[in-house]
Subunit: 232 residues, 2 copies
């Protein structure tokens, strides 16, 4: 337990290394809810994004792109360090019930327990090939509409996740400070007084590779642009 | 341990409930390698697929489709019941190192430990809207080429996964039959004589929803066709 407390303190004290430099607004409530609990510590999140990505070296707009351009929609993703396996199980259950069906637990060799909230809800659409745009403007309008609707569904799922999480964390239990007692009932937690926000709590990284913890930059793709919502 | 042995026996005795009714050829080697070990039991797999899916009621070819048609590429997915958490950790490590970076562990309330091998490697491309085909034949040829290349990369990853798994499972250790001893070193397993194939070992389900265990059918989409490799 002491190890987890220290790990959490170090984690929340870190500078936000994401390109954006801060929490996504649509992920903030969930992040703060979890970090307000002693047993959880979020390590990275992204509320969802639309990305125009190009393989190759040039950084230019879609019409001038010289490589292969792909539009991607990537949904909400969240990584949470958990104090014990039962905490990860609770979070996993909530995530799956909220629609994030690709969620899963990782247990590292040092005993580090991570829960990744993930979804299959995506788009990946090749748009151009060796500089030649392969789709019409009409298709682009249609595609943007599809992407925006996926983003809306994604936002609804985040809301569902927040509500289910709140319920799950507020269910009464004996204590969440005693490891022996928490073993008895892994599905419920004591409601605690809202803690004062820990300084740096919102310093939060957004994973560059959407499915994993932030790591060394992977420059296989150049992002032409990242949009929360695209309009044509 | 006895519970796991029983669970495995029941699982392998089940009739294959997939549409195909048998193992995918490209997943077979991995499945058999795992099922030949006492500590693992595969429950579902799919070597990867290209799907033309339509929301709506009609089952017709792409040109005649009356709804919204989407082409999807879904990569290799595998679900494995594991005897203990350390077994799942080993498998998780191998999966991630082979490129299946969305892999994760689930621990059910009854202590059931599942490892899901998953990847972000996908395509999802809307092709038609309310019956109107939105892309050209040239784009379809381009798209099929992209999809086939993803399938080839997927096949390479399965090969990598198999090789890494073989190495990981063959690394010498004291025994994998004694729970106390296996606790000492979670990363390695004794090489066993190849067991005679258990009858029904190849009776294996392929999950309809690609990211999870097979469950009640979800008819939100009608599949127009499932192709291992598309040619135009």
């Amino acid at each position: 337990m002491a190890a987890f407390v220290q790990r959490k303190a170090q984690c929340l004290a870190r500078v936000d290394a994401s390109r954006k430099g801060g929490l996504d607004e649509r992920a903030a409530a969930v992040v703060q809810l979890l970090n307000g609990r002693s047993r959880f510590c979020t390590t990275s999140s992204c509320s969802g994004r639309l990305v125009l990505a190009q393989g190759g070296a040039a950084m230019t707009a879609l019409e001038k792109a010289t490589g292969d351009v792909v539009l991607k929609f990537e949904p909400f993703v969240l990584h949470v360090l958990c104090q014990e396996l039962q905490d990860a199980q609770l979070l996993h259950s909530v995530a799956v019930n909220s629609g994030f069906r690709n969620s899963g637990i990782t247990v590292g060799r040092g005993g580090k327990i991570m829960m990744a909230v993930r979804s299959t809800h995506c788009l990946e659409v090749p748009l151009s090939h060796k500089g030649k745009l392969m789709v019409s403007e009409e298709y682009m309008e249609f595609l943007i509409d599809v992407a925006n609707r996926k983003m809306e569904e994604n936002t609804r799922r985040i809301g569902r996740f927040y509500k289910c999480l709140e319920l799950a964390l507020e269910a009464p239990t004996s204590a969440d400070t005693s490891p022996e007692e928490t073993g008895k009932n892994h599905a419920v937690y004591t409601r605690r007084r809202k803690r004062k926000t820990i300084q740096g709590q919102e310093a939060h990284t957004s994973p560059k590779d959407h499915s994993e913890e932030p790591g060394p930059a992977d420059d296989a793709e150049t992002n032409l642009g990242i949009f929360a919502e695209l309009m044509l």
